[in-house]
Symmetry: C2
Subunit: 503 residues, 2 copies
Amino acid sequence: MRRQRRAGRAPNSPRQRPWRAVERGVAPIAFASDDEIEAIHRASLRVLAETGLEVLSARARTLFAAAGAEVDAAAERVRLAPELVERTIRTAPETFTLHARNPARNVPIGGPAIAFCSAATPAFASDLDRGRRPGGVADFENAVRLCQSLDSMHFFYGYPVEPQDLPVETRHLDAYRSHIRLSDKVWRAYALSEDRVTDALEMARIARGVDRRTFAAEPSLLLNCNTNSPLKLDGPMADGLIRMAEAGQPVVVSAFTMAGAMAPATMAGALVEQNAECLAGMVLSQLAKPGAPVIYGSFTSNVDMRSGAVALGTPEFAKAAMVSGQLARRYRVPNKSSNVTSSNAVDAQAAYEAATALWGSALGGAHIVAHGVGWLEAGLTFSFEKAVVDAEMLQILAETLTPLDISDLDAAVDAIARVGPGGHFFADPHTLERYETAFYEPLLSDWRPYETWVEDGARTATERAHRIWTRLLAEYEEPALPPDRAEALDAYVADRKQAYADA
Amino acid sequence: MRRQRRAGRAPNSPRQRPWRAVERGVAPIAFASDDEIEAIHRASLRVLAETGLEVLSARARTLFAAAGAEVDAAAERVRLAPELVERTIRTAPETFTLHARNPARNVPIGGPAIAFCSAATPAFASDLDRGRRPGGVADFENAVRLCQSLDSMHFFYGYPVEPQDLPVETRHLDAYRSHIRLSDKVWRAYALSEDRVTDALEMARIARGVDRRTFAAEPSLLLNCNTNSPLKLDGPMADGLIRMAEAGQPVVVSAFTMAGAMAPATMAGALVEQNAECLAGMVLSQLAKPGAPVIYGSFTSNVDMRSGAVALGTPEFAKAAMVSGQLARRYRVPNKSSNVTSSNAVDAQAAYEAATALWGSALGGAHIVAHGVGWLEAGLTFSFEKAVVDAEMLQILAETLTPLDISDLDAAVDAIARVGPGGHFFADPHTLERYETAFYEPLLSDWRPYETWVEDGARTATERAHRIWTRLLAEYEEPALPPDRAEALDAYVADRKQAYADA
């Protein structure tokens, strides 16, 4: 039996499952009881009311004060009463759509939808040919091209690798332009400064070719607002959050609560701290603009108490992801989790840690899985081979979450009757009608017998992944961008570079 | 911070989570709807009533006929009316305990319990030093020792590798004796012939040092009864099942329903066939002895329609595992699933396929996970390195399934107040009271920074696994067996060897 080639693909081109919005076809796991979720919620409210947050943005403190929060301007401390928190976050939307410059790449966020993203902001790039090196613009652009080619990746959670050789002042202009030119998927703004967030907003609007009113009504760009755990909100992060909310663009509020270091040394304690920080960010977002899309971001794990190393893809991470999903559902906002590993190599550890994070996130109810492809070494490195391993794992997960189809039960019973005891189904009409599309076809997995596999070079999954990404890059085609948008984009970048140079 | 050594372990001895009965602290996933489960159930009953099974055991056909089944003796065909099936299986127990020769190794089966087992019956052994070779008694005994040493493995699902160099006629006597001497965990009988099943029963009884009455009341041995899919029950399998049931010992009835080959080319169709075969075996067990422990075994996946290769650890496998868990719960019997991979190497593929199978099985509600450690190449090979990778994955899974502990919420809120915004928790009393046992400690995972890892040899997980299993074997100590039992065992084996020689 031979499978038909997919149109437009070279005969040996890597087979992927086609781009699609993924839905979780099964109810998310209730890992903690409702009472336990409420207890974590109430403990977080106590933290916000009694200890409060250090907020380093004057604009943010003004918004908090105007809403009735207790603000100590000298100490830059903000305390939030439970009632204020509960009331304010109610306006956050439960679902929305992220609009790409190519509408075929739009991504639903929230509800049953689950979106997989690129790695964000590793400092290094790595592959089997060249090893590990500091990230530069060439690796950044190739990583963007590869992520564009991987159909299981829905949008960019940031630079897949940091283009460290671009000047810091204007790096965002070049990198955002590359995102727009090399990919038609949604990308993400960085909270570097208010000006730079405005650059991202303008460039995203130009890329989409829409007016300001349409852009404000259609989320098209994402920003990740990291709290500085414990309980600190930096100025650029807070200002970026406010600017995005005002522009109607979604913000992920994400704590980095490593139990035992920046958070208490228990999962429950770390989740209380995460929840307090996320709630504070969600409140700020809704104070800036009621109804602005805001996402509950979770990144709670622990440090290894012997070495201080960050432990990721562990039982603690999976549990925290599941509980975070429950907390986000309690607040009726989408949840962001991550695909993580602390492994230094693209090996079995990288895969089982990623699997632990992915299953915990997906079954826990995450709507956005950040760092979905390419993340290695606790995020220090973008690995081209890991990106392909991840893409396979995301495909497998997406397919596993698709409900069982029982529409052929009667036909199957008839087939079983035809074949009878001891027979086989290879030539049965029930099989022949279905075999081309019946089952999952892998991108990376090699199911051949041992001897065949040895004769063909005995390549490990990581070695095969190398062949796949090089092939995908060789076959990559830049997605068309209308010339007027490309020109407007270039003009904007040139103009802004001049402005940064003059400043 | 330094962790205390565990008593009795050398300083560099691999750290494992201690042996314990694992419980799923979260409700199993309802992947299909109740209506869909009923539809699969009814379709299976149609298969049993209309097509029926070929049953190659005269004793089994007699039992079926006596219960009112329609038996065509010439065609060796048995058809079962729905009412007969539903009525007969009701006596099967929902839970029981597997008794080991060391009571500390007893394993609860069913309910919230989940037990992890060894690989069963690979033909080859493999490790990084010596590569792949046909399984022999030396590898078999080392694999038994390693499985004994791995605390996450609860019992043997069979020979971890086939000792092919032992004479076929009496192989079971030597292999069972090695199981008993080298390990104090439960082992499994093979349905080779009725005599040999009797040998297993006697040897297990001798090992436990109990009389026949106690042995009959305490499940102490397991047998796997594979149907010959589609719809065929071989003589030795049926006779072995009957013999075990009569002795009060548990049998797993397991179909090998590869969709597109031995089963219809859809998951729903293959599950109908699996369910029909499992139901028939469960009926036979209860006809042989009402109340005999019987386990619903699932092993449904698909063949790759392009190559005919068996595809394992796939979305199809995970879905089938989850639905099988639901079917078993409908029948109120324990469920057996498996930890599987089609990979030829201990690489990322082996890990993500195993993870897919493990999460699908564990969250789907499996009570026994066969092939838990060491399985490679779709079961053709026992890999010593894979066994260690698996042990780590089982530890992670077991820990992930343990409920969140929220008992310290108030203490955590107080710690957060003490540390305050921008501080750290390293030296807080809340941390110092907990750091030694707060978090999961890995057996295999390496979380050190990249540079440290490179300086120490840049070993992959598979290379580290090699060091761990060689260390575990070097530190292995044979578990004490009372001399009278050892003597009785030797006498039994000598006596039976003579009998086989005389036959």
